[in-house]
Amino acid sequence: MSTVDPAARELSAYRKMEESITISETTEFEGDRELLTLNLGPHHPATHGVLRLLVTLDGEVIRRLQPIYGYLHTGIEKTAEQKSYWKAIPVVERMDYVSYYFNAMAYCGAVETLLEVEIPKRAQYLRVIHMELNRIMSHLVFLGTSALDLGAISVWWYCFRERETLLDLFEMSSGQRMHTRYFQIGGVIEDIPDGWIEQVRKFCAIMPERADIYGDLLNKNEIFLQRQRDVCPLPVEKLREYGVTGPLLRAAGDPWDLRKTMPYSSYEEFDFQIPVGTKGDNYDRYQVRLAEVKESIKIIVQALDNLPDGPTITDDRKIALPPRHELATSMEALIHHFKLVTEGMRVPAGEAYYPIEGARGELGCFVRSDGSSKPARVHMRDPSLVNMQAAPAATEGWLIADMLATVAMFDPIIGGIDR
């Protein structure tokens, strides 16, 4: 690297702009009232990660809200392009780090669409069970941290107790608490261990009651209610305009849920309801998620009751590894194993977009293949990034304390936004 003399270096356009700013020039007035621009974050406990918010205030009233992203950008999409298809799953899972099963599902689904591979029924059901467990876990994290923001610390302890049970279930089925890499292209990596179903059933038996308890804890909390009821509502039309999906949209009364409207992974075989709100205020946003926890339990119980027998991954040897015992006896199995582990699978050239109903809304994965064994482009349509576009519209004209409650209710996961 050549040595650069700092004095001789030309200032970049951004630095020039930065140097040209003086305080007096940035003072804004609205009529005769002076506006205050306040920086919130990126390191702030109320922003759920490293979200930075530039807030322009008139007294305590928000006149303008400007979210600034990118503090957690780690180039996961670029990294995924350097890896063969099956090795990209772990990095993709780390995007939205609270809903890793959904990330893996969207990515694997997109690749499976390109490969035109049939997923065995048992694998589809196991995927559904894990995704719904993940949805409960994600909503528990949301509920705990949001209540913490609003001053109700005890809910956090209870929610994370149940989350711990869920993480133990994930550890039992896959060996990892988080970022499990359980979903594979073509199915799931292995069958569930003995005793897992009983553990899940035990959890399903207590969770609906626990959800009611958490609801009671919060619904009888006057401070929580005052900061939630009728605060920062947005109508359905406005939400659709900003591309908002998931619980936020359903809270405003639009029953749009991809699990019902465009089912994937056998969701059409389960009987469940879509909870919707009426006003679209913060209270509805929280109630919809609490109700979704119970619906997820219903789906899991049905999936456990009707769990089909059979293989858990496709028997296409060009996609899935052959079973271990075949390697000792079959030459072909050994060759397939070697090819898959060294080069990976080749995916026909094309593009696929695979949307699923994530915990925060439509989570879509766009994969472009150029026919080689590495994806040429992996792009996530992350619901947090798109949903946050509605945050300025929801909070402008409200108090700064309401804004913090609303950002908590939007539930952005910065890992998903920044990737």
Binding site: S12, R15, G70, E241, T261, P355, G364, R377, H379, Q389
Partner: protein
Amino acid sequence: MPDAATLERLVGALKASDAESVIDTVETPGRVAIEVKPESIVGSLEVLRAAGYEFLASVHGVDYYPNEPRLGVDYELLSREACDRIALTLRVSTEDPHLPSVTPAWPCANNQEREAFDMFGLIFDGHPDLRRILMPEDYEGHPQRRDFPIGGEPVLFTHNEHSVPRWFE
């Protein structure tokens, strides 16, 4: 994906509004993408909006290196009524990466267009706030382009702090 008759009707509607707009129709498993000219993207999206595809689910930037024109943008549209998806795509070159922004008509595309600008250097003319969104404001280059090297960021130590450009300016 729309069936053959619907697709023909949609392509017909696109051609009726602008005869030159449609370049190609690409059918892959589970997906139909209509490639349109960059200039006519706003009009084409309006035609599809009138045909029921009223939700712009996602905007993706793509680099087709080494094919020319290199850069592309994908618009994923969703019809809630028909529970159906269709994609519009377009291609622009790296020498002239200009295309009209759809954000004024579809506010949901705001962040994702900024992301495509940040990562690929696609310039969306008419975007209200076209700044980098994920990379630092003074970053040079567009990292998601296929010819952008990986592992090129120097690591800062005390022995090389004066030779690593930009950090203390």
